[in-house]
Subunit: 222 residues, 2 copies
């Protein structure tokens, strides 16, 4: 138990890092597809093209692997989402269209990173069995981090006079934008479990952005 792996501090040898990432990739796929309990170590090892013994040498046990996969995947997706937000808000001029384009790609992340969100869907019912620190760190590096980035971009847009947002209402505005777009999509698709027609998806996001601008737009807001 105290040998190595766990949090993976110092994989020095060359191939180790590749093996490790292959395992993480395979585990993300299988855990997301099958769920924690159904996912067998052998299936993950096969998906990663690795012996199951190597997997144990890297991550200790099944729970350690799940922990590593969840956090690794969360960091990756959060990074991608933050880059996406930065890219869209960089050229933020017209709230009407720019906010819609941004939200479309942001919420579309559910389909851009299907394995990650399948993985996240698995932890919801498993929450009471998962160590609290894992849950907390997931929220911190995942949803919370993305939300924080969004909040800062919205604040910047507010300072630029493009939205009716200031330090006072920024938190609520951020929650509202997420709720009106992502929350609406999530509710309609049973938390992403059921497929949603693209037109329906776009309609929900569009209506959500319209509602958001109705509250925080410069024309009718304030």
């Amino acid at each position: 138990m105290t040998k190595q792996g766990e949090t993976g501090q110092k994989p020095l040898r060359k191939g180790m890092l590749e093996k490790r990432q292959a395992i993480l990739k395979g585990a993300r796929a299988v855990f997301g597809r099958e769920g924690y309990t159904r996912a067998s170590i052998d299936a993950i090892a096969a998906e990663a093209g690795v012996s199951s013994r190597t997997l144990y040498n890297h991550f200790g046990d099944k729970e350690g692997l799940f922990r590593a996969v969840l956090l690794d995947s969360s960091v990756a997706v959060t990074t991608a989402q933050q880059e996406l937000l930065a890219r869209h808000f960089h050229k933020f001029r017209d709230p009407e269209t720019d906010l819609y384009d941004m939200a479309l790609e942001w919420i579309g992340g559910i389909e851009t990173h299907p394995e990650h969100f399948a993985l996240v869907r698995q932890i919801i019912p498993e929450a009471s069995r998962l160590p609290v620190d894992v849950l907390e760190e997931w929220r911190r590096v995942g949803p919370k981090a993305t939300q924080q980035a969004l909040k800062e971009h919205l604040l910047a847009a507010g300072r630029a006079g493009l939205l009716a947002i200031d330090e006072e209402n920024a938190d609520r505005a951020t929650r509202h934008l997420a709720l009106f777009t992502g929350g609406a999509v999530s509710a309609e698709s049973a938390q992403g479990a059921l497929p949603l027609a693209p037109e329906e998806f776009e309609r929900l996001v569009r209506e959500g952005v319209e509602l958001f601008l109705q509250l925080y737009g410069k024309s009718s807001g304030e």
Copy 2:
């Protein structure tokens, strides 16, 4: 497979019905707590105070039991929710307070029927492995039925001149009320997986109702 059980058409003998309901109750608890895969037949039988063989005689196999439990529980909760809506809208006079009271108890159903919603949380990641007809029937007798009842009450309130709701916008208004209150609570509590402080719960519901009235209230709406 063709012997009996399955959909349970004719349990005539006296004690059988009690056994059946004891099994459904125990299965709801264990399935909700452990999830489909982890939940063992023996654990369910023990929780129900019944031999595992009796369980098989009633429901055929594990999947048949899960199917029966999910639909039975959904019908029960939907009935309770519809009664709740009828009771509140019966004495619907002042949108400000009446709508808040209603939403508080409605969304509070997550805590009033914890086993049911734990069960529902389990089917989300399991969706792709569940027969489509089970999923469809669940949505029909569950969320869809409640949503339909709410829509009719909102329409009635609109006809009574208490809300700015008519046949044109009733569907959207219904979705909005659910999203602003239940969706907000759901998002904040990670789909109900993480506990939410009562004050936070009430605050979210209150803000949700306020926002709803901002859009569909008679004073500032229209």
